[in-house]
């Protein structure tokens, strides 16, 4: 792990400061949105949205747009579609899987026609946080504010709907609107997360930290805060680790995310005695 001096040396580079800022914003957003994604058991939908975003990003590049807007546009549209259908279609994992494969296929097709973009394909798939520019950071902050504001607006009925769907319906929660709005929020968070770790590794920021947090604490607010804090810590430590080792940043973040989750699943003595009491 880097000492204080190497930390200072690390922060002397613009690209490192940018990386920390971008990863920080995306991690907090992903950790908070991911908390509800894990609670609702919809992590697979989050994964699928990343893949769909890949087609959006490559498609946008093909028609001369900034990939990030193709990513946002496609994931939000797909999120709304999944949310709209989600409560109704049974076996939705299959439906999502089919759409996911199709989306990746389209992404490949767009790449095929826009060969100059191929070099950036890896960045899209696996992230390239060391290459973010200040404008991207502003975009991430703007998107992040919109995402968290929307989440805050629907959080109360979303939680009710998540924990007690039948009762929530009876009590007048607009079920379809809330679940669709949530999927659109997930789509925005996936777009943020994909800027850091790439579309294939959004799980590292959106699922690993909240799942770990839910293992460690059972309170609602403590869970949300811990999830965001873990995502932030794993993202920043991942960047520092990459700086020290020269490994890819996304690998380091994915590794820390998996490590955190595995540690939280462990059957530690303290947990065993707590379980014995209960």
């Amino acid at each position: 792990m880097p000492t204080i001096t190497t930390t200072i040396a690390m922060l002397e580079y613009d690209f490192m400061r940018n990386a920390f800022a971008a990863a920080g914003v995306a991690a907090v957003v992903s950790g908070l949105v991911g908390y509800f994604l894990v609670l609702r058991g919809q992590t697979f939908a989050g994964h699928a949205l990343g893949h769909i975003g890949f087609a959006g990003a490559t498609g946008a590049a093909l028609i001369g747009m900034a990939p990030v807007w193709g990513l946002v546009g496609f994931t939000v549209a797909a999120g709304i579609a999944i949310g709209w259908l989600g409560e109704r279609i049974s076996g939705r994992d299959v439906a999502i899987g089919v759409v996911l494969a199709l989306a990746l296929g389209f992404g490949l097709l767009f790449l095929h026609y826009y060969t100059a973009f191929a070099a950036q394909a890896t960045a899209l798939l696996f992230g390239n946080v060391l290459a973010v520019d200040p404008f991207t950071i502003l975009t991430l902050i703007g998107l992040g504010i919109v995402t968290l504001a929307a989440l805050a607006a629907i959080m109360r009925p979303l939680l009710f709907l998540t924990l007690q769907p039948e009762l929530a319906e009876a009590k007048g929660v607009p079920v379809r609107f809330v679940s669709t709005a949530f999927m659109a929020i997930v789509a925005l968070a996936v777009s943020e997360s994909a800027q850091i770790v790439g579309v294939l590794l959004v799980f590292a920021l959106m699922v690993g930290p909240p799942a770990t947090a839910q293992r460690l604490v059972t309170g609602l607010w403590s869970g949300m805060i811990l999830s965001a804090a873990l995502a932030l810590a794993e993202a920043w430590l991942g960047i520092a680790m990459a700086y020290a080792t020269d490994w890819p940043v996304s690998f380091c973040i994915a590794l820390l995310s998996a490590l955190g989750y595995c540690l939280s699943r462990g059957n530690w003595p303290a947990r065993r005695s707590a379980a014995a009491q209960g």
Binding site: L39, R40, G41, A152, A153, I154, M155, R156, P157, L159, F160, T162, L163, Q164, P165, E166, L167, A168, E169, A170, K171, G172, V173, Q214, R215, T218, G219, L220, G223, A275, G278
Partner: protein, 280 residues
């Protein structure tokens, strides 16, 4: 004035008529046991009272007005209770989520709201569940928690849809006692659906027995007779009284009990199953 009044009500689900021409009135403070074979329309009846489905014909009055979704005066325990298997949320957060849970914004609760949650948990002896995650609770403990949340917010009418499912004999008895104690003190009207009359026999005021698209409301002595039940089951039924219990038999088989055995607590599946069965 009656709490619930059905006037020639017909109810359908997905194009299939579940209840035809039901008329009945339920008075304040009554404890009604809602019985009948699977698919007879117990859940459909509750959903109509909650304003989630409209009658195909006739009119329903709840507290003297048309049912409306989200009526705070009704406490509800749904039959299909989707509980995510690995829900690591504390009991108290689970309960609190239903307190004005339909409002927009953050799930923060005022001090009085938190007090109501704590008091309700204490009232049914579930306060030790407050800090434990749902994933670590037994079926009986979860059921107690769900019962607590149906009792929240001083309801005047309670709709409890099969609250005894997945409970063993001892827990069934204590759950019935809990509800009885809670509602008697407060004069709450209860519709309590169950598979077997015997689970409720000492507690209920009247029975609402559903079957064959029809309903019979009356005291145990009025409803639990061979002619009435034969009409509702569309089969020859014998009613046997033994040791303070009542058994509903068809060709020597206990129909209430046998229904229970191939129960998979899913309303639709039952409805079709029973539908096919009847016409076979």
């Amino acid at each position: 004035m009656s709490v619930i009044a059905f006037d020639h009500v017909a109810l359908g689900v997905g194009g299939r008529m579940v209840l035809r021409d039901v008329s009945c009135a339920i008075a304040p403070g009554e404890f009604i046991g809602v019985l009948g074979p699977n698919g007879a329309g117990k859940t459909t009846l509750f959903r109509a009272i909650l304003g989630l489905i409209r009658p195909v014909a006739g009119s329903i009055r709840v507290f003297g007005r048309a049912p409306r979704r989200g009526d705070a005066a009704i406490g509800y325990l749904p039959q299909v209770r989707t509980l995510l298997p690995d829900l690591r949320v504390r009991g108290v957060d689970f309960i609190a989520s239903s307190v004005r849970g339909e409002r927009w914004g953050l799930p923060v609760h005022s001090r009085p709201e938190r007090k109501v949650v704590a008091e309700t948990l204490a009232a049914i002896g579930a306060d030790e569940l407050a800090e434990r995650p749902l994933a670590d609770m037994s079926g009986g403990e979860r059921q107690r928690l769900l019962l607590a949340q149906a009792l929240l917010g001083e309801p005047k009418l309670l709709l409890l849809d099969e609250p005894l499912i997945s409970l063993d004999q001892r827990h069934q008895e204590s759950a019935v006692e809990l509800v009885r104690g809670f509602v008697r003190e407060r004069g709450i009207t209860v519709l309590f659906s169950a598979h077997e009359l015997n689970q409720l026999i000492g507690v209920l005021d009247r029975v609402l027995y559903l079957g064959n698209g029809q309903a019979a409301l009356g005291t145990v002595a009025e409803v639990m007779t061979a002619p009435v039940l034969s009409r509702l089951y569309d089969a020859r039924i014998e009613v046997v009284r033994a040791d303070g219990h009542i058994f509903v038999l068809s060709r020597g088989q206990n129909v209430e009990r046998s229904d229970h055995q191939h129960d998979h607590s899913h309303g639709d599946a039952h409805a079709h199953h029973h539908h096919d069965h009847r016409h076979a």
